[in-house]
């Protein structure tokens, strides 16, 4: 049977210097911890990261920032990672902030092939450059470009060998959105089962969006 299961090392083959990398997780919940470690271990530099927060200095996606592997970060807040704030101040890390709901919707748009979204112009944490407001549907709106990435890393509870994914409770968060918005999607899962064993009605991310699967705690990076 064909299977997308690979080792951690094989999975991160496509993460190179300068790769645009999108990640699921909210804080540490639903963060693909093994894949982050594998990327760290590989030693790639100058990454562009796209995710809802900057994790913590020593936990989650924040590790890549702490180790100086990240050049650019597109996110909604970095409050839990003072290291990211420090690097931003020193000019080592370029940070772009976006309100959280708009951020999620930009990734959703990226995942379904829509080039941008129309949002209420007044909802913004900071001035949006090049986003001219216009009247639409009786509201003052602006366009926000969709977000996509070269590689996406997500965490799920279960996968089947085809890559269909089922998530767990609040560990879902950005994961199903990220899974669809990357050219190459890698899923870190607790368990992989043969295709046919997951109830098609329960699948959240169809396997067509998933390229590689690694099992958490299984296989060395």
């Amino acid at each position: 049977m064909l299977s997308k299961l690979v080792t951690h090392e094989q999975a991160v083959e496509h993460v190179l210097d300068g790769t645009r990398l999108m990640y699921g997780g909210f804080g540490t919940i639903g963060s693909p911890a093994n894949l982050i470690d594998a990327i760290l271990h590989k030693g790639v530099q100058s990454l562009t990261l796209i995710g809802i927060d900057a994790g913590y200095p020593k936990v989650g996606i924040g590790k890549l920032i702490s180790h100086g592997r990240v050049r650019q970060l597109i996110t909604t807040h970095i409050g839990s990672n003072p290291e990211a704030g420090q690097q931003m101040m020193e000019g080592k890390l370029e940070v772009t902030f976006c309100p959280q709901g708009i951020f999620a919707e930009k990734i959703r748009a990226g995942g379904v092939g829509i080039p941008g979204i129309v949002v209420d112009a007044h909802v913004s944490g900071e001035r949006m450059e090049g986003a001219e407001p216009f009247a639409f549907d009786g509201r003052t709106c602006r366009i926000e470009a969709a977000l996509s990435a070269e590689v996406g890393i997500v965490y799920a509870k279960q996968a089947d060998t085809y890559g269909n994914l089922i998530y767990d409770k609040a560990a879902r968060n950005l994961n199903p959105l990220v899974a669809m918005a990357a050219d190459i999607t890698i899923a870190e899962v607790e368990e992989i089962v043969p295709a046919g064993e997951l109830d098609p009605d329960k699948i959240v991310t169809p396997g067509i969006f998933v390229d590689y699967i690694v099992v958490r705690g299984g296989g060395n990076s």
Partner: protein, 220 residues
């Protein structure tokens, strides 16, 4: 924010009176987190968390935490009967579609028009706005819970905000340890003064003009 625990609880207790059975409510970080403790379970209030839960329940007992059930701040929580999990676009879809009856949020400053500043602490680094602006703009009712003055003793309710704004004209009600103030079309309306503070004390420590309600209550 410089308040004693009993004062924080007092604000949360008063805030809970703004909640009715069956409402969907978002609680922000800080004093708002305490509000849930004052709402009877049988009211079936659904607490919303932006990380993808509707129906957040109490803190779990030690040893019974589920690593995949937390609030937006990452603290372990439980869920109540009727709860659901969903992705982040749905979490904000609920907000944007005005399905939330109330959002309780902390603040650094509020002005007489209900502008809210709560995302940049003076002298500290920029952290990013997170979901603050969207909650403030789209919740049906925005209720600020905060200390009446800052740690320097300066009024947090002001004629104009001096800190960067999170959202403009969004605040409906302000509850502090000293007073309850409505934001109306005509300005700020003082409706309650909390014991042991006096009307004079509240006026002195408020940096914007206050209209005094005809039904002003002195709350014991």
């Amino acid at each position: 924010m410089g308040l004693e625990m009993d004062q924080r609880n007092m604000v949360a207790w008063r805030a809970a009176k703004e909640v009715a059975p069956g409402m969907a409510v978002n609680l922000g970080i800080g004093i708002p987190e305490l509000v849930a403790d004052f709402i009877p379970h049988e009211w079936q209030v659904m607490f919303h968390s932006v990380n993808g839960i509707l129906g957040v329940g109490p803190t779990p007992l030690k040893g019974e935490e589920d690593q995949h059930i937390s609030n937006a701040g990452g603290a372990p929580v439980t869920v109540v009967p009727g709860a659901s999990y969903f992705d982040s676009t749905i979490a904000y879809g609920m907000i944007r579609r005005k399905k939330l009856d109330a959002a309780f949020i902390g603040a650094l400053q509020v002005n007489r028009r209900g502008d809210l500043a709560n995302w940049i602490v003076p002298g500290s680094r920029v952290h990013g706005i997170g979901g603050g602006a969207e909650l403030a703009y789209y919740a049906k009712k925005v209720i600020v819970l905060m200390s009446h003055v800052n740690q320097a003793g300066e009024p947090k309710i002001r004629r104009e905000c001096t800190l960067p704004l999170t959202a403009k004209g969004c605040v409906d009600l302000i509850i502090t340890e000293r007073a309850v103030i409505e934001v109306t079309q005509r300005g700020l309306l003082l409706t309650e003064v909390m014991y042991p503070y006096t009307l004079e004390n509240v006026i002195t420590h408020t940096g914007a003009p206050l209209m005094i309600s005809e039904n002003l209550q002195m709350v014991e």
